[in-house]
C-alpha cells in the first residue's frame, strides 16, 4: 500500500530532521547546550514539526480533493445518453469506479497487462471478456463510454497518486531544509515549538466542532435531496409507512407519523418502568441504605448501564419476548401475536435505563443540603414525609433533567428496538402489537444494497435528522431546566 509507505517515508524524514536539527544546534553552540537559547531537543522538534505538519496537511487535503476533481473530470466524459435511461449520474459514476476496480484487479491477477488496461482503442468485447476471465463481475450496464471513462479514471488516479507522493515528499524535504536553515544559537526554538504545539492542541479540540458540522451537513444535504424526490408535507404528516422494495419507480408511502408514534410509545413504556424503579432506588440508596448496602447495590445497579445494548436486544428477542408470549400470547390472554412488541422492547429498555435515572437522581438528592432535612425533622416530620415534601421538591428540577436525559436515550436507542420491537409500522394503541421506531427504520433502510439515490434510502437521512433534532432538543431542554433551577438551594 503506497500510502502507508508514503506516511512512513515522511515519518522517516522527520526523524532524520529531528536528529539533524538537534546535532546542528549543538554544533553551532560548540557542543555546549548552555550556549543555546532553548534546550537542544526543541531544535530537533522544530525541524520535525516543519516536516510533518505541512506534509501531512497536504496529504490529507490532496486525498480529499483528488476524488472530487477526478469525478468532475469523468462526469464530463460521460455522454448524456448513458445517463438518460432512468438512472442518475451518481449511479453511472459508481459503475465507472467499479469497472476501474475490476481493471485494477485484472491487472493485479495477470489477466491483462497494464498497457492493455490503459489502451483506449482496445476492443470493448475483448476487455470485458478478459475481465470475466479474471473473475471480475461484469454487469450488463457496462458500455463503451463507461469503459473508456473507467480507463481514464484509472490513469488519472494513478497520475494523481504519483503527483501526490512527489509533492508530499518535496514538501517534507523543503520543511527539512527550512528547519535546518533556521537552526542557530540565537533561534528561539522553544517559543516556535510551543506555539505550534498550542495550535495542534486547538486543532484537536476543534475536532468536536468538525464532528458536529459533519453530522449536520451530512444530514442536511441528504435530507434536502430526499425532499426534492419526496414531498416534505407527506413525510411529516403521512400516516402510512410502506416503502416499496422494488427500488426506484414504485410508489412508496414514507410518512413519519407511525414511526414517531412507535418511538414515543416504546419510550413511554420504558420510562414507566425505569422512572419509578430508578427514582425509588435512588431515594433508598441516598437516604436509607447503610454505607455497606450502598457500596454493593450502587455498583451492581450501574453494571446494567455498562452492558452493551446488543445484549439487551438479544435478551428482548429471545428471553423476554417468549416469556410475554406465554402470558399474553395465544395460550394465555390472546393479546399478543408475536414475541416482538412495544411491551417487549419497552420493558427491556426500561431495565437499561434504570441506572441512568438512579445514578443521576442519586447525585441530585445527595446535593440537597442537609440543613433542609434537619429543619423538617425538627418540625416532627417522619423520614418519608421529609423526603416527599422537602427533599424531592428541592431536587425536582434535577430529577426532571435526569428523566429527560433518559428519555433522549430511549428515543435514540437502536439495537433493542431493532431486535425487540418488530418491523411493522403501525398506529395502534395495543402495547402488545409489534411496532417500529425511527432508529429501527434507519437501520433497515440503510443496510443492504440500497442505492443512495433512491428516496427509500435517502429517507433514512431525513429520519436521522428528525432523531437528531428531537434528542438535541430534549438534551438542551434538560440542561436548561437543570441550569435554571440548580442554584436555588445552594
Amino acid at each position: 500500500m503506497p500510502l502507508f509507505w508514503l506516511i512512513l517515508a515522511v515519518l522517516g524524514v522527520a526523524l532524520a530532521g529531528f536528529i539533524l536539527g538537534r546535532s546542528r544546534a549543538l554544533g553551532h553552540a560548540g557542543g555546549d547546550s548552555r550556549g543555546l537559547h532553548s534546550l537542544p531537543n526543541y531544535y530537533g522538534w522544530n525541524v520535525a514539526l516543519k516536516i510533518m505538519v505541512p506534509a501531512f496537511g497536504l496529504l490529507v487535503v490532496w486525498l480529499l480533493l483528488q476524488p472530487l476533481y477526478i469525478t468532475s473530470q469523468i462526469s464530463e466524459m460521460i455522454p448524456e445518453a448513458s445517463v438518460a435511461d432512468g438512472g442518475s449520474l451518481g449511479l453511472v459514476l459508481a459503475e465507472v469506479r467499479r469497472a476501474a476496480e475490476g481493471l485494477d484487479a485484472a491487472v493485479a491477477s495477470g489477466a491483462m497487462t497494464e498497457e492493455f488496461a490503459r489502451d483506449v482503442r482496445a476492443d470493448f468485447a475483448d476487455v470485458t471478456q478478459r475481465l470475466k476471465d479474471a473473475g471480475q463481475i461484469v454487469t450488463g450496464t457496462i458500455t463503451q463510454p463507461i469503459l473508456n471513462a473507467a480507463q481514464s479514471y484509472r490513469i488519472m488516479t494513478a497520475t494523481g497518486n504519483m503527483a501526490m507522493s512527489v509533492a508530499v515528499l518535496v514538501l517534507a524535504l523543503a520543511g527539512l531544509a527550512w528547519g535546518l536553515r533556521q537552526t542557530g544559537v540565537s533561534f528561539r526554538a522553544r517559543n516556535v515549538v510551543e506555539t505550534s504545539v498550542r495550535a495542534l492542541l486547538i486543532a484537536a479540540a476543534s475536532v468536536a466542532i468538525l464532528t458536529t458540522v459533519g453530522i449536520v451537513l451530512s444530514l442536511v444535504f441528504n435530507t434536502v435531496e430526499f425532499f426534492r424526490l419526496y414531498p416534505a408535507s407527506e413525510f411529516f404528516f403521512g400516516t402510512n409507512w410502506a416503502p416499496s422494495f422494488s427500488g426506484r419507480g414504485g410508489a412508496s408511502d414514507l410518512g413519519v407519523i407511525p414511526l414517531l408514534w412507535g418511538t414515543f410509545y416504546i419510550s413511554i413504556v420504558a420510562l414507566l418502568v425505569a422512572v419509578p424503579i430508578g427514582l425509588f432506588a435512588a431515594i433508598y440508596l441516598s437516604e436509607y441504605a447503610s454505607s455497606r448496602v450502598r457500596s454493593i447495590a450502587k455498583p451492581a445497579i450501574e453494571v446494567l448501564a455498562g452492558i452493551p445494548t446488543i445484549v439487551y436486544g438479544l435478551f428482548a428477542l429471545l428471553t423476554v419476548g417468549p416469556l410475554l408470549m406465554e402470558v399474553f400470547g395465544k395460550e394465555g390472554l390472546g393479546w399478543m401475536q408475536s414475541g416482538t412488541s412495544v411491551m417487549t422492547a419497552g420493558l427491556v429498555m426500561g431495565i437499561m435505563l434504570i441506572p441512568f435515572v438512579s445514578s443521576l437522581s442519586d447525585d441530585i438528592i445527595n446535593a440537597v443540603p442537609q440543613a433542609m432535612r434537619d429543619g423538617s425533622y425538627g418540625l416532627g416530620a417522619t423520614q418519608s414525609e421529609t423526603i416527599r415534601q422537602v427533599v424531592l421538591p428541592a431536587a425536582l428540577p434535577g430529577i426532571v433533567g435526569a428523566i429527560l436525559l433518559a428519555a433522549s436515550r430511549a428515543i435514540g436507542e437502536t439495537m433493542i428496538v431493532v431486535l425487540g420491537a418488530g418491523a411493522a409500522a403501525r398506529l395502534e394503541l395495543n402495547p402488545f402489537e409489534a411496532m417500529t421506531t425511527v432508529t429501527a427504520k434507519i437501520v433497515s433502510q440503510l443496510t443492504g444494497d440500497a442505492d443512495f439515490a433512491s428516496p427509500e434510502a435517502l429517507v433514512a437521512f431525513a429520519l436521522g435528522m428528525t432523531l437528531f433534532v428531537l434528542t438535541l432538543g430534549l438534551n438542551v431542554f434538560a440542561l436548561f431546566i437543570v441550569r435554571k433551577y440548580r442554584e436555588q438551594y445552594e
Partner: protein
C-alpha cells in the same frame, strides 16, 4: 451523612409516647414503612433484573462452547485408496468404507446398530468428501491409523443439548426419529461425545444454513483492528483537546462553542454517528465499505466526548501547586503541563480511555450502517494492513447477524458470542479498576 436522621427515625417510631400511638401516628408510621419498602423493592427489582440477565446469558450461551463430535479410528490402506479413487462415485466409495469401519468399531464395543449411508449423511454431513480430501492432501497417512474427530450436524448437537427431542422432531431430510436411536447407540459405544468447541472461538461466520460451523474468531479480529484505530486516534486527540480546554483555553466564544459541542456530542444517539460515517467516510471520501478502519473512525468520533470528559476530570484533579512549583523553577507553561501535570494525570486518563474503549467495543448500530454486518466476516485478514481495509465484522455486529437468522441454532451462537464479548468488557473494566486502585493519588 446524618446524625439527625438516625436520631429522629426512632423518635418517629412513636413507642415512647405517653398516650400510646393514636390513629394518625399509626397511619404516618405505616406510610413510613411502606415508603421504605418501595425503596427496597426498587433495589431488589433492579438486582433481580441483573440476575435474570446474567442467568439467561450463561444458561443459553454455555452450550455454544461445546459441540458434538464423533470419534472414529480409521485406517485406509494404499489398495483401498486406489480402489476408491478408481471408482465413478469416489466420495460414495469413501463413505461406504467409513460405514464398514464404523460398524466394526460398534461391533467391537458390543453395540448393535442398523444404519445406512443417508443416516450417516444426516448425522455427520458429507463424510466421504472429508475423508477423501484428507487422504488426497496427506497421502503419507495411508496405511496408518488416523483418529478422525467429525463434527455432528447441528440438529444432532441440538439433541444432546435438549434443543431437539423425540416429541418435537418431525421426520425431515435433515433428521429422522430413527437417527436419534442410532445416536443413542453410538453414545453407548462411546463413539459420539461432547467436546470443547474450539472452532466457535477461532472460526469465521458460516452460511445461513450451517449454524454448527459458525465461529466468532474473525469478528474478534475485526473488533481488535477497530479498537487499534480507536486507541490510536482517540487517545492523542482526546488528551490534546482536554489539555487545551483545561489548561490553555481563554474564556471566549470559541471555547464555549467547543464545550457545548462536546457535551452535545456525548448525548447524540450512536446511530447518528453511523449516518455520519456512511455519508462522510464512505459516500464522500470513498473509503472501503465494511472496513474496520471506517468502523474505527466512526467509533473514535463517538468515544471522543467520553474520553475528553474523563481526561479533563483527571487533569483537574492534579493540584495547582504542582503547576506553580514547575513554573516557579522556570518551566514554561507548556513544559509544566507536559512534564508534570500530564504524567500525574496519566492513570486517570488511561482509566477513562479503557472505559471509553469498552463502550466502543460493545457498540453495534453505527457499524451496521457502514456495512460491517456479520456475514462479511468470512475469514481472517491476510495481513496487518489488510486487517484495517478488508471487509470484516465486529463482535456485536456478528451477534446481531446471528440473532436475525431464522435457524434457532444461531441463537445459541449469539448467546455464546455475548459471553465472549462480556468477557472482553469485564477484562477491560477490571484493568481499569486495577489501574485506578494502584496509581490514583489522592492529593
Amino acid at each position: 451523612m446524618t446524625d439527625a436522621s438516625i436520631d429522629t427515625a426512632p423518635a418517629a417510631g412513636g413507642k415512647g409516647s405517653l398516650l400510646g400511638s393514636d390513629a394518625r401516628t399509626k397511619k404516618r408510621n405505616a406510610a413510613e414503612k411502606r415508603f421504605r419498602l418501595y425503596g427496597m423493592a426498587a433495589i431488589a427489582i433492579g438486582l433481580f433484573f441483573l440476575l435474570v440477565l446474567f442467568v439467561s446469558i450463561i444458561r443459553s450461551g454455555a452450550p455454544a462452547f461445546t459441540r458434538t463430535v464423533v470419534d472414529v479410528e480409521f485406517t485406509l490402506t494404499q489398495a483401498e485408496f486406489e480402489a476408491a479413487e478408481s471408482e465413478l462415485f469416489k466420495t460414495k466409495a469413501y463413505s461406504n468404507l467409513f460405514i464398514q469401519k464404523l460398524k466394526s468399531q460398534l461391533d467391537a464395543a458390543g453395540v448393535e446398530a442398523e444404519f445406512d449411508e443417508s443416516a450417516i449423511e444426516r448425522l455427520l454431513g458429507k463424510v466421504g468428501s472429508t475423508l477423501r480430501e484428507f487422504y488426497r492432501a496427506n497421502p503419507e497417512q495411508l496405511g496408518q491409523p488416523v483418529d478422525f474427530e467429525l463434527a455432528a450436524s447441528s440438529r444432532v448437537d441440538g439433541y444432546f443439548k435438549g434443543r431437539v427431542s423425540r416429541d418435537t422432531l418431525q421426520d425431515s431430510r435433515f433428521l429422522q426419529v430413527s437417527d436419534l436411536d442410532l445416536v443413542d447407540r453410538l453414545e453407548e459405544a462411546g463413539v459420539i461425545r461432547q467436546a470443547f468447541n474450539w472452532p466457535f472461538i477461532t472460526g469465521a461466520d458460516s452460511g445461513v444454513d450451517n449454524p454448527g460451523g459458525a465461529g466468532i474468531g474473525a469478528s474478534v479480529v475485526g473488533s481488535f483492528f477497530m479498537m487499534l484505530v480507536v486507541l490510536a486516534l482517540s487517545l492523542p486527540i482526546g488528551v490534546a483537546a482536554s489539555i487545551y480546554l483545561e489548561e490553555f483555553a481563554p474564556k471566549n466564544r470559541w471555547t464555549d462553542l467547543i464545550e457545548v459541542n462536546i457535551s452535545n456530542l456525548a448525548a447524540v444517539p450512536s446511530i447518528v454517528f453511523g449516518i455520519l460515517g456512511l455519508a462522510v467516510f464512505i459516500q464522500f471520501m470513498h473509503l472501503p465499505q465494511s472496513a474496520p478502519l471506517v468502523g474505527g473512525l466512526v467509533l473514535t468520533l463517538m468515544t471522543l466526548p467520553t474520553i475528553i470528559i474523563s481526561t479533563r476530570a483527571s487533569l483537574r484533579a492534579v493540584p495547582p501547586s504542582i503547576r506553580d512549583a514547575a513554573l516557579g523553577v522556570g518551566a514554561s507553561k507548556m513544559q509544566a503541563v507536559f512534564h508534570h501535570v500530564l504524567p500525574l494525570a496519566m492513570p486517570g486518563i488511561l482509566t477513562g480511555t479503557i472505559i471509553g474503549l469498552a463502550q466502543a467495543l460493545g457498540e453495534t448500530a453505527p457499524l451496521l450502517l457502514i456495512g460491517m454486518v456479520g456475514f462479511v466476516a468470512r475469514g481472517y485478514p491476510d495481513g496487518f494492513i489488510a486487517g484495517f481495509t478488508e471487509p470484516n465484522s465486529a463482535m456485536p455486529a456478528q451477534i446481531y447477524t446471528w440473532a436475525t437468522r431464522a435457524d434457532a441454532g444461531f441463537y445459541e451462537k449469539a448467546w455464546g458470542g455475548i459471553i465472549i464479548l462480556l468477557a472482553f468488557l469485564l477484562t477491560m473494566n477490571i484493568i481499569a479498576i486495577i489501574l485506578r486502585r494502584r496509581f490514583e493519588r489522592r492529593w
